[in-house]
Amino acid sequence: MTVPVSPRHDETFVLNLGPQHPATHGVLRVKLTMDGEYIVKAEPVLGYIHRMHEKLAEASTFAQFMPNTARMDYLHALAFNHGWALVVEKAAGIEVPERAEYIRVITVELNRIASHLLWWAAFLLDLGGFTPLLYAFDDREKIIDLLERITGSRLTYCYMRFGGVYNDIDDEFIKGTRDFIKRLRGRMPRLYHDLVTHNIILIKRIKDIGIISAEQCRRYGATGPVARGSGIDYDVRKHEPYSVYPEFDFDVPVFNEGDSMARYMVRMHEMEQSMRIIEQALDKLPEGPVMAKVPKVLKPGAGYYYSAVETARGSLGHRLVCNGDKNPYKLKLRSPTFSNLSLYGEVAEGMLLADALALMGSLDLVIPEIDR
C-alpha cells in the first residue's frame, strides 16, 4: 500500500537503518527520511565492507585471484568462481573438457539452490517468521555437506580452475545429489508452499508491495530475479549461453506483477528449474578428464574481454582488460545487486517502513558483493 507522502516535510525525521540492523543482513546503511512511518526519501549508503577486490586483482596473478571471487557473494560463491574462470578462459583461449563443464554446472546449480534457500529463510526472517529459517537451513545443510565433500570448503569455495575443476565428483556425490533432489521435491509442497507461500499473512504482506516496473529495471540495469519478477525474460543462461547450459532443457520463470510476491515466486520456481538442470546433467555426465592442459603461468593476449554469468542474484559481469602480462591490467566486477539496489531509493519512496523492508528483503541483498 503506497500512500502519497504529505507535502509537509517540515516534520520529517531521519532514521538510520543500519549499518547494524537486523533487516539489512550485513553492513548496509540506508538513510531514511521519514514522515511518521512513511518514507519520504531512502538513500542507501554503501562501502562498509569494501575490500577493493579490483585492486587486489591487479596485484595478483589470474590464478591467485580465484579465492577472492568466492569472498564477494558468499552465498553463490561457485558462480563467482565460474564467472572468473570463464572470462580468463575466454581471454586465454583455453578449452575446457566437457566433463569439467558438466561438473561446474552441477555444482553451480546446487549452490544456486542453496543461495535461494538461504534467501527464502532470511526473507521470512525479515517478515518475522522464524521457523521457516530452520527448515530451509536443514535442506541447505545437505547441499553444503555435498559440496564440502568435493570442494573441501563449506562456504567460500575455490573450486574452479582455468581449464577445469579442482576435483572430480564421485559416485557418492552423485547419489547424494539425487537423494537431495528427491528430498527437496518431497519437502517443497508442504514445508515451503503450504506453510509459507499460501499463507494469507504472507500473501497480504508482500503482494502488491514494492512494485518495480520493467522500464525501471532497464533504466537501473536490474537483472536476475528482480527483472524476471517484472516481466523481463532475461536470463544469461538462456540469453547469452555459456558453459554447457544450451544442452539442458529448462525454463526461465517470469512473472509480470513486479511486486515482492512475483520476485518470491521467481526464486521458488528457479529452484525447481535448477533441480531439473542438475538431474539432466547427472544423466548426461560424460566420462573424461576434469582438467585441461594449461600452462602454469597464464598470459592472455592484450585486449578487452567481457563475460557474464547468471548468479542467484542476477547477471555478474567481468570486464577484463589485459595487456599481455601475467596479471590482469584492469578488472571491473559488475555485481548484480549493486545495480539492483540502486533502484531501491526510487521504489521505496512513499512506502511504509515495514513494506520497505519487505522490498529490501525481496531484492536479495548480499552486502559484500555490493561493496566488493
Binding site: L46, G47, H50, M52, E54, K55, E58, V87, K90, C217, R218, R219, Y220, G221, T223, A227, I232, D233, Y234, H239, E240, G301, A302, G303, Y304, Y305, Y306, S307, A308, S315, G317, R319, V321, C322, N323, G324, Y329, K330, K332, R334, F338, S339, S342, L343, E346, D371, R372
Partner: protein, 168 residues
C-alpha cells in the same frame, strides 16, 4: 545479427567519417592500442561484446541516448588508467534485456591530467552509482552529476586507489 546491424547503423550516424567494417577474428586482436574514433564489429565468442565503439568524451551522452532509444540497458561503467599514454579510459557496457543478445562496448579516452566527462545519469539512472564508483576509484570528474560523492570509500579519503601510481 539483426540487432547488431541495427545498432551499428544507429551508432553510425554519430561517426559519419568512419566506415565500420566487420573484422575477421584473426585481425580482430588489435589489443589495447589506441585507434581511430569509430565503430568496430567484433567477435563475441572471443571478446564477449559484439560492437566496440570508441568515441570522444563529448559524444558519450549522444551514444547513451542512442542506446536508450534502441532499448539497451547500462551494464557497467569501468575506468582504466593508462599512465604511459597519460590517458584515462572509460568503458560503458550496454546490453539488452531479453531478445537477441548484443553487447556494445563504448570506450572513451581522455587526458589523464584533466579527467572530465559528461554524465549520463540523465539517460540511465543506473549510471549514477557506477559513475560515483569510477569517480571514487579514479578521480574522473563526471560533469553535471547530481551527487558526485564517494560511494565505496570513506567520505574523507584523499586518494584514488585504482590509479596505477597509487601505492597504499
Amino acid at each position: 545479427m539483426v540487432v547488431v546491424e541495427q545498432t551499428r547503423v544507429a551508432l553510425g550516424t554519430l561517426f559519419p567519417d568512419s566506415h565500420p567494417t566487420a573484422v575477421s577474428s584473426e585481425e580482430d586482436n588489435q589489443g589495447t592500442a589506441p585507434r581511430e574514433v569509430g565503430i568496430l564489429v567484433t567477435d563475441p565468442a572471443k571478446h564477449g561484446h559484439h560492437i566496440d565503439v570508441l568515441c570522444r568524451p563529448d559524444q558519450v551522452v549522444a551514444v547513451a541516448r542512442i542506446m536508450d532509444g534502441e532499448g539497451y540497458f547500462l551494464e557497467s561503467i569501468s575506468g582504466v588508467d593508462w599512465p604511459d599514454r597519460q590517458q584515462f579510459e572509460i568503458i560503458y557496457d550496454y546490453n539488452r534485456l531479453g531478445g537477441e543478445h548484443c553487447r556494445v562496448m563504448v570506450r572513451t579516452l581522455m587526458d589523464r591530467n584533466q579527467p572530465v566527462v559528461p554524465t549520463i545519469t540523465e539517460v540511465f539512472p543506473a549510471a549514477d552509482w557506477h559513475e560515483r564508483e569510477t569517480f571514487d576509484f579514479y578521480g574522473i570528474h563526471f560533469q553535471d552529476h547530481p551527487n558526485l560523492i564517494r560511494i565505496l570509500l570513506p567520505e574523507d579519503a584523499d586518494f584514488y586507489p585504482l590509479r596505477k601510481d597509487y601505492m597504499p
